[in-house]
Every structure is written in C-alpha cells, then in structure tokens.
Amino acid sequence: MNAIPPFEGPEHRWTGEGSSRIPFWAYTDPAIYRRELERFFYGNGHWCYVALEVEIPDPGDFKLSWVGERSVIVVRDRDGSINVVENRCAHRGVRFCRKPKGNARSFVCPYHQWTYKLNGDLAGLPFRHGVKKEDGSVQGGMPADFDLKQHGLARLKVETWNGLVFATFDHTAPPLSEYFGADVVPWLNRIFDGRRLTLLGVNRQRIPGNWKLMMENIKDPYHPGLLHTWFVTFGLWRADQQSRMVMDSHGRHAVMISQRNQGGEAKAVTEGVTSFRKDMTLNDARLLDVVVEPWWQGPTVTMITLFPSVIIQQQVNSLSTRHIVPSGPDSFDFIWTHFGFEDDTEEMTRRRLRQANLFGPAGFVSADDGEVIEFSQDGFRQKGPDGETVCELDGRGVGPADHMVTETLIRGMYGYWRKVMEI
C-alpha cells in the first residue's frame, strides 16, 4: 500500500505569515509537545514557577512541585536559602519523594538508601566500600573511581522574587529581572513588593486541553466581558473600561491591566451581549464586597502571564498564583495558590476568601474558562491536523494596546513560539 502519513511529524508546516492563525496541530501533535517541553520548560533560558516561599517557611521544609512534567523538590536549606532538585534518584531513577509536603534533614531514596543533602549532593550510600568479613576480606562495594560528586540529584538554578520561587534546568538562563523584562517587572513588584505573604490554600483542577490555551485565555481581554456574566454585569471587566495591554519585548509575557467601573448598561459594550444581565443583583453583596487597597494605585485587575508556567492574578481583593503543569499535548493540571499579606485584617482575609468564590475550579468567573478550554481541544481534535484559529481582532500585528478589543497578546505569544520552536 502507499505510505500512510503519520499524524505527527515533518508534514506539519506553518505556511502562513505572522502569528494570527494558529494551526490546530500546534495544540495536538505529540512531537510538537515534546519539543515544547525541551525548549520552553527545560531549556532555552526559560524559568518556571515552582512555589511561594511562605509554603516552606522553616529550614528543612520541602514541597513537591513540577517543572513541566518533571517532579522537583523545593526545599529550604539550613541557611534559609531555597534549593530545587529533581525528584529522581541518581542510582536507578526512582522518583523517591512521595510526600507532597514535609520537613527533612536529608533525602533518602528507600530502594537502596542512597542519601542526599538538601542541596542534592550525594552524601553517601550503603556498602560503598563493600562489607568487611571477619577474615578482613571485603565483599562488593562501588568501583574505586566512583565519584560521589558525579551522582547527585539534578540541581536546578533557583531565584526568588519577593516571595515567589522560580527554577530552571538551564543553568545558562539569564537573571529573572532580565527574563521578565522591564515592562513586566513593575507590575510584578506592585503585588510582590517584599511584604510577607500569608497562605490561604491550594486548589487544583485537571483541564483536558493544551497548556497554551490557558496562557491564551489570560492573554485574551476580549472574552471576559463576553463569557463572564459577572464581569460585564458588575463592571469588573468590560470593553468600556480604561485598560492597558503590556508585553515584554519578546511577546511571551504579558499584563492585562484594567480599572473597574460601575457596571450596568452601556450600549457600546452590553448591547446584544447575551451574557449581560441588566437586572441582575446579588442576593448577598458580600460576594463582591470590594474594598480598594492602597497599593493598587488605580488598577482593580492585573493579570500577569509569565510564560510558560504561571499566571499571577489580582482580581480586586483576590490574589493567587496559577501554576501550569502540562501532561501531554491535550491535558494540563492547573494549581491555584491563594494568598494574602501578613498585615491583612481579619476582615480583609475573610473578604479575600469570599471573593475566592469567583475563581478556581468552581469559580463564578473561572469555572467556565476551564470548560471552554476543554471544548477548544475537542474542536481541534475532531478537525484533525488541518484547520486553524483566527486571532485577528485589532489586526494581525503584535504590539501593546490601550484597550481590550484586541488579540494582540495572543499573536505576541505565538510569534515568540514560532521563533523558539523554529516552525
């Protein structure tokens, strides 16, 4: 029979110019995905989010986290610094650490008890020099040239940023400040200015869609005022608001900034918007009892996408990091860590917790984001490798914008993606 083209592989070409039409195979092809892991999550100078410092306050405290598909241990060392090491024994590959959180003086792989320091160095292993018998002869042991230094846990380069912890397998990666870029840093520092954080909790959801769809979703100022009734109805996010779309120089990171208005009707942005509910009011206003915080300096919403692994959310009084953990081309885990500040009053904490009802897997304005991402992947899958999305709102180019009626941030991300993926 004549050759049958495999689903994945070389015959995939991105023929069009620019980045306003994304081919479906960019979301479904396993080989594309493996290259994404190599280049975005494990290499090419990219940093991944792994934790908040407050999750491991004391020496020896550790938590398991993820860099791409690789399990890593984030641990605070005796000197208070933070190490990130891969959770894979150097002897025979065992992912040995199984407790999601804990405190350790060292790491011991149970299989043969190879023992590692908190920085991943191999401290020792049983019978390295064999077992001495009565007659003095020695049985077994590791070869004479065995070098402990060559057999530690894979160690990642680590940087913290006012309470955030980032890591990378690429030890040639630039410093975080350079990685984030001058346009994004101020918005990051607006939230993370060195204040101590408090941990409110973690929520997790498994979303059966390609990981990039979540980045798109938070680089898409077009949808919130349309998909999310609460946003348009209560004026949390809608096209008649003063807003700005910021990008780093590569187009990979972005910030969506906006200032809430009073909501209600406004011909230009609610007319014909089926999700708008003219007469909707809350039975219990406490769900949206917004109180302005001084550090906001205006904006009520800032959504920061730090490519490829994390989204940082300020939605009025609700704060969280959202960690993207990809697993295959058509699924990722999305881990929400909600936090506040050490100087929050009890009321403010209760307020943040009440507003948390809007977010996460059950959130009034986030549950449906997970749903549409699932349905997008459904659509890509059913069509097969050809077919493409159309991201041409506000043109086909890439650049910052001072409004929401644009898909420029998405185009920015795929412009960068094409470059790095060499596609």
Partner: protein
C-alpha cells in the same frame, strides 16, 4: 430468634432516621437539580463549604465553594442556572449511613461518607468527588436543617470544573 440486648433510646433511632433521610433527600435533590429543595434543607444563616482534604487537614481556610446564608446559596444557584457556561452533567450521590456525634435535642453533629459520580449525557460515568460531610444541624419544627455542611473531599484534583454543589 433475636434477643434484646440493652435498650437504645428511641430518640436515638429517631434522630438517626431523620439524619439518614435528610442525606437521602439531599442527594436526590442535587441529582435532580432541584435547587430550591436543596436550599430548603439549610437554615437561613447556614454555612456551606466544599473544601479539599489538604486544605482542611492543614487548617488552611480556602475552599472551592464557600457560601454563607440562603442569599449566597441563591446566588450560586443563579450562577448555575443562568451565568456559568458549562457542559451539563448528571450527578449521582451515594451516601453512607450517618454517624451522629452528638445530639442535645436542639443541635446535632453528624458525619457521613459520600461518593458523587459524574456522567455527561450520553456518556460513561466516572468517579467525580468522594469525601465526607461534616455537619451541624438544628432540630426545627420542619425537622432537621443544616446549619453547617462542610464537604471535605479527597478528590483534590478536580476533573476540570465543579459547577453544582456536592
């Protein structure tokens, strides 16, 4: 033939019956998407929370759903029925026998294990959310009412979204 071995106060059997019936009705109401009936099982000043076991065990306050009073319950129902876009699904509750931890005739504390199965119409059923109800109830003229129900779930990785109460 069975022999009687130490009496149990009838009130205990009665409270047990009331509690198990409430749980059965609770599951049936949610599985039938009868949200008015669902709200009716709570007191006006109720607390309803759905929280992961990891947060609950660590004493972290975050829930995935945390509602206070009938008003918020109604707001949630409005979200389910009017504002939250989602793929519809069936729920099916199977709830174990309740354990009554205390009952002073006014307030009753109880727990029960539950399993909720999710089925998208026309598709197969999957284990969706399993956990434990931790309840505080009041004896009222209309019978037992939930003053607080905390759904502490084991299924920490939510299968995409959780739209309806469990």
């Amino acid at each position: 033939m069975a022999v009687r071995t130490g009496a149990i106060a009838l009130s205990i059997l009665e409270s047990q019956h009331r509690m198990d019936q409430l749980n059965a009705a609770y599951g049936e109401a949610l599985d039938a998407a009868d949200y008015d009936a669902w709200i009716g099982m709570f007191t006006e000043d109720c607390h309803y929370r759905v929280v992961s076991r990891e947060n609950y065990d660590q004493g972290l306050p975050l829930s995935i759903m945390a509602l206070e009073g009938h008003g918020m319950l109604r707001d949630r129902v409005y979200g389910i029925t009017n504002t939250l876009f989602h793929s519809p699904y069936y729920q099916r509750h199977v709830i174990g026998t309740a354990r009554i931890l205390s009952d002073d005739g006014r307030t009753l504390h109880a727990t029960a294990n539950y399993a909720v199965f999710r089925t998208k119409p026309g598709s197969v059923s999957e284990v969706y959310n399993v956990g434990r109800y931790i309840d505080r109830l009041l004896h009222t003229r209309e019978g037992l009412k939930l003053q607080e129900r905390i759904c502490v779930f084991d299924s920490e990785m939510v299968l995409n979204s959780l739209i309806y109460p469990v």
